[in-house]
C-alpha cells in the first residue's frame, strides 16, 4: 500500500466508523451473548464428555500408544506419514516452523490494498487449502494408530497357510506397533534405525524359538518382554518369524 492508498483507506474507514454504533451497548450485547454460548458449550462438554484419568505413568512400561490432544493430531500425522528418516526433521519441525514464520510475516508480504476475499484469489485459495489440509491431517490423525503404526504386506506364505494364520499375523503386526519395538528397531520403512538391529528379515536369520528366547532374555539395553500377555507374545513371535 502506498501513501495514497493508506490515506484513502483511513478516510473510508473513518466514514464507515462514524456511521456505526457505539461499542457499548451494541457490540457488548453481542459479545455477552457469545460468551454465554461459549460457557454453555464448555459446561455441556464437561457434563457429557467428562474427563478420564488413565493408569499412572510408568516409565518402564513396554506397551504404550502415545496420543496427543486432538488439536495436535495434524502435527502428529505429519510425523506419521513422512517415514524416510532424512526428511523427518523437515516434517516435524521444518514445515511447522516455516508455516509459523509465514504466518508471522503475513502482513509484511501481503501488502496489497484489496481486502475483499473474492478479489484476493491467491490468499483466499491458500487459506482454504491450508484449512483443508489441517482438517484432512487432523481427521486421518484421529483414525490412525500411534506414530509407530506398522505397515506391512502379509506375505504369500502366510496367506497360503489359511485365514487363521493371516489373523495371527495381523494381530502380531498390531502388537508390535503397540509394544514400541519400532522405537529402537527398523522394520522395512517403519521405525527408527537404532540402537537395535533392523528386524526387516529377522525371520530368515533366527528361528522362531530364538526370537522368543531373545524377547524373554535380551541383550541390554533392550527390555525383557516376558511380562507380555501370552497371546500377545505368541503373536509377536509369529509375526517376527515370518519377516523374511
Amino acid at each position: 500500500m502506498n501513501q495514497r492508498q493508506k490515506e484513502e483507506y483511513l478516510r473510508e474507514y473513518g466514514i464507515l466508523k462514524s456511521e456505526g454504533k457505539p461499542f457499548f451497548p451494541y457490540a457488548v450485547a453481542k459479545d455477552s451473548l457469545m460468551a454465554c454460548i461459549v460457557m454453555l458449550v464448555i459446561i455441556l462438554a464437561s457434563l457429557t464428555l467428562g474427563v478420564e484419568l488413565g493408569a499412572k505413568a510408568n516409565p518402564a512400561t513396554t506397551s504404550y500408544e502415545p496420543r496427543p490432544e486432538w488439536y495436535f493430531f495434524f502435527l502428529f500425522e505429519l510425523l506419521r506419514v513422512i517415514k524416510p528418516p532424512s526428511v523427518v526433521p523437515l516434517a516435524t519441525i521444518g514445515i511447522p516452523t516455516l508455516c509459523m514464520i509465514l504466518l508471522f510475516l503475513l502482513p509484511f508480504y501481503d501488502r496489497g490494498p484489496e481486502r475483499r476475499p473474492e478479489r484476493r484469489p491467491i490468499a483466499t485459495l491458500t487459506g482454504i487449502f491450508v484449512i483443508g489440509a489441517m482438517f484432512y491431517l487432523t481427521w486421518s490423525g484421529a483414525h490412525a494408530g500411534s506414530p509407530y503404526a506398522l505397515e506391512w504386506k502379509t506375505p504369500n506364505a502366510v496367506i497360503k497357510a489359511g485365514p487363521a494364520a493371516v489373523a495371527k499375523f495381523e494381530a502380531g503386526r498390531k502388537a508390535i506397533a503397540s509394544t514400541g519395538c519400532e522405537a529402537c528397531h527398523k522394520i522395512g520403512e517403519n521405525g527408527n534405525p537404532g540402537p537395535g538391529p533392523p528386524l526387516t528379515e529377522i525371520g530368515a536369520r533366527i528361528p522362531a524359538e530364538g526370537i522368543a528366547r531373545t524377547l524373554v532374555n535380551p541383550t541390554a539395553p533392550m527390555p525383557s518382554f516376558k511380562g507380555l500377555p501370552a497371546k500377545k507374545f505368541e503373536d509377536i513371535v509369529f509375526f517376527l518369524s515370518h519377516l523374511k
Binding site: K6, Y9, L10, E12, Y13, I15, L16, K17, E19, G20, K21, F23, Y26, A27, K30, L33, M34, A35, V38, M39, V41, I42, I43, A45, S46, L47, L49, G50, V51, L53, G54, K56, A57, N58, T61, Y64, P66, R67, P68, E69, Y71, F72, P89, T92, I93, G94, M100, F104, L106, P107, R111, P113, R115, R116, P117, A123, T124, G127, I131, P147
Partner: protein, 267 residues
Amino acid sequence: MPKLPPPPIPPALKPPPKRPEEGNGKLTPLDTAAEAGTSVVNWVDERTSLSGAVRWMMFRKVPKGTNWFYTLGSATMFAFLSQAITGVFLAMYYRPDVSGGAYESIRYVTNDVFLGSFVRGMHKWGASVMVVLVFLHMGRTFFFGAYKYPRELNWVIGVVLLILTMTMSFTGYLLPFDERAYWATIVGVNINGTGPLIGPYLSDFLRAGPEFGATTLSRFYAIHMMLVPGLIAALIGAHLYLVAKLGTTAPPWLKAKQDPELKKTEA
C-alpha cells in the same frame, strides 16, 4: 382514609422530580443513599481520571456492518478467563510431584472432590474450545483482510497468542501424569529435539536435562501456571489496546457512501 393512586397523567405533564438541592437545602439520608453510587464513582475518578479511559474504550464506535464474526475475539478471551478460573481451582489441589503425588492429586480431584471432575472437565474441554475459537478468530481476520494496514502489529501479537495457547495445551497435557500424558509428552519433547539449530536445546530446556526426570514435571507446571498465563494476559491487554485504538474493521465488502459535498468539490 386510604389514598387513591395518582391519576394517569402523561409523563410530559408530570411534575419534575425534586432536585437534591431544592427543598430546605439539606440532604435527607435517603437522598445521600440514592447518590451513593455516583459519589463513589466520583471519588475514584477524582483520584484516577479513569472515566476518560472507560469512555474511550466503551463508547468508541464500531463501524457499520459489524456482524457475529466480530464476536470471536472476545469469545476467545472469555474462554481464556474460564480457563484461568477453573485452573485456579485445580491448582488448589494439584501437587507437581513425579513420585505419585501428581497422579494421586488429580485422581483425588476427579473422584473425591465435590464437583471436581466437573471443573476438571471444564478445564480440559475449555482448552479445546479456546483453540477452536483462536483458529476461527484467525480465519476471520485472514479472510476479511483485517491484518492489513494499519493493523499489522495486532496480527503479529495474535500469532504469538496462538503459539502461547498451543504451548499451554502442550504443557498442560503432562500434568495429570497418567500413561497417556507421560508418553505423549515424551514424544512431543523428542519431536522438538529433532528440530534444526535450537531443537536439542529446546528439548533439554523442557526436560530440565537430557533425561525426563523429577524436575521435568515441575518445569512444565511452572510454565503452564505462571509463565505462559502471565504472557497471555499481558498480550491480550496489548491486543485489546490496539483494537480500541485502531478500531475494528468494517466488513471488506462495505463501501462508504461518497460524501455529496466532496463529490461537488471534485467535479
